[in-house]
Symmetry: C2
Subunit: 331 residues, 2 copies
């Protein structure tokens, strides 16, 4: 059972999985990415994965067989386990919880070599519907406080398989990064009585120097204080704190803008490795006026080193205004 | 001039250096590390660096020539610049400062291929004296709020040169990671009237499961909530909030334990890339009872990916008790 441990000084939780390597060679990266031949996420290889949790598939085809276009499975190497209780406890000055949670993989397409920008719009929408279905289902489990959807694309971004997939982790505590955002947004709201994300959208629209792309429902910007070169954020234009409240119309427009941004990034940066995260409200938070769900996309072009670990500062060599210009002008 | 920008939501500062690449190839890692032939940090190559700020050298030898055993120079590619004023300002909802600071390199030995564990004890002590001298000097500049000493060793830890060196960055604001530690420690002190680091040392000494090494003045542990496999912390046993208050005796013992830990890590993990940071009190904080300076050493064996960026959580596959056992038993 993995264990969550709380740093006694700053309160940050760490997941100790207890299952992997101890000496250097155990940590060595599997550098050759899988080929379609041996890929467990390809169509026809369903027997190589744990039984599916959800799939969108052709009528008449059977679970864990061919015929699906989106497939959700448990992660074979979960960082948190679904069985058991949280079992919060202390030992002297130290705090533990059991590593309870869910860890699933969303296979975004049966095609091995596609990136999100290669999907047709219907397929891209289906990925978002799968995200939504899984969030709604996982939210029923009252042990979970937060559900994160994220994506590691490319070995340098931490992916171990190249077949397009995202991941979901449901966890028993609200992560510190999200808590900081919610606290910051709440403080701003208390002072201004306006959502800070809505204000950012308004200010960015006026300045028009960091907008990459937009459609009726969504805007994509390079944030003012971008941590990474070519970091982009996608936000719904109309205030919404809950991802799974997406209307059908918004699902289409989110699929369109995600595909568009992924394509621009792949063209400008020659298919970089990247991470993608959805920041949503915590599970038990109802609709709130001060938090605004959004997607953060971070190409992995620079290394994080001692200075960043020591300070929490980031060093970004590319001003977001320039990144936005590059991304905007490519077509 | 680099620019500091404040994230309006969570208040984190980012340094936008504005000087480096825009397209993918500009970010590509220089994978071949320098050889001693072309290394600007080697003895006899002093003309390849900016003029030295400090050196410990043989009597009769001249500045920027051979004869030194520790040499401090300005970083040729500084992330912050020393000239000018901080110039804090706002633009709409966004906050800026000019990127004022100092960025120096401490060349730890004239020998190209040594790691810290290869230094003789006198040489190791001299590196610490150089750290101390530079901190004392930089603290005179009232524009600086914080001085960080850190080290990136190995390309995967962000080093661009392999010759043993550390870096110093003086900056105009207290970094968020340090602020979190100080706030956490102050809260604990207000509640318990004891330093949390002193309590950790006491608890670790009793439990004796996470101690790697100790001497009269210092203890090295794998912290309870280690973020990374084989992460270690070195702390002075007697409470001290200020690194530069080190006595001569303590400098010797710090050199000894640093050399010891570096050697154990290199043996156990076959010379891993690593980052090393000194967490000291901010420049204008006098002696305080609740904060305790310390060194954090982080071998870079795992990749940080979407989950970590999205949550601020860390996933560590090696329990610190096991890491401590491995490091302790090697000799």
């Amino acid at each position: 059972m993995p264990e969550l441990r709380r740093d006694p000084i700053i309160g940050r939780w760490v997941i100790i999985t207890k299952e992997r390597g101890k000496v250097k060679k155990d940590f060595e990266q599997i550098s050759e990415m899988d080929t379609s031949e041996g890929c467990p996420f390809c169509s026809g290889k369903e027997n190589l994965t744990p039984p599916e949790i959800l799939s969108f598939r052709e009528p008449g085809t059977r679970k864990d067989e061919k015929g699906w276009w989106v497939r959700v499975i448990p992660n074979k190497f979960p960082v948190l386990r679904v069985e058991g209780n949280i079992n919060r406890r202390g030992e002297g000055m130290f705090d533990y919880m059991d590593g309870i949670g869910a860890h699933e993989v969303i296979i975004e397409t049966p095609k091995h070599d596609a990136d999100f920008s290669d999907l047709d719009i219907k397929q891209a929408e289906e990925v978002i519907w799968a995200y939504r279905d899984r969030i709604l289902d996982l939210k029923k489990d009252i042990r979970f406080e937060y559900i994160l959807i994220f994506k590691n694309h490319g070995a340098d971004a931490g992916a171990s398989l190249s077949h397009p997939h995202s991941q979901i982790i449901a966890m028993p505590t609200i992560p510190v990064r999200v808590k900081q955002e919610i606290d910051g947004s709440r403080n701003y709201y208390e002072y201004k009585e306006r959502c800070i994300f809505c204000d950012i959208i308004r200010e960015e629209t006026e300045a028009n120097t960091r907008i990459v792309s937009e459609n009726e429902d969504f805007i994509c910007i390079t944030p003012f204080a971008s941590r990474f070169p070519f970091e982009t954020w996608i936000m719904p234009k109309i205030h919404s704190s809950i991802f799974e409240d997406l209307s059908k119309h918004e699902v289409t427009n989110l699929a369109l803008i995600l595909r568009d941004i992924n394509g621009r990034m792949n063209k400008t940066l020659e298919k970089p490795p990247y991470n993608f995260i959805i920041h949503n409200s915590p599970c038990r938070t109802g609709k709130i006026p001060y938090y605004h769900w959004h997607i953060e996309i971070m190409p992995r072009l620079t290394k994080v080193a001692g200075f960043e670990w020591g300070t929490g500062f980031y060093i970004n060599p590319t001003p977001p205004e320039e990144a936005a210009k590059f991304l905007r002008e490519i077509d």
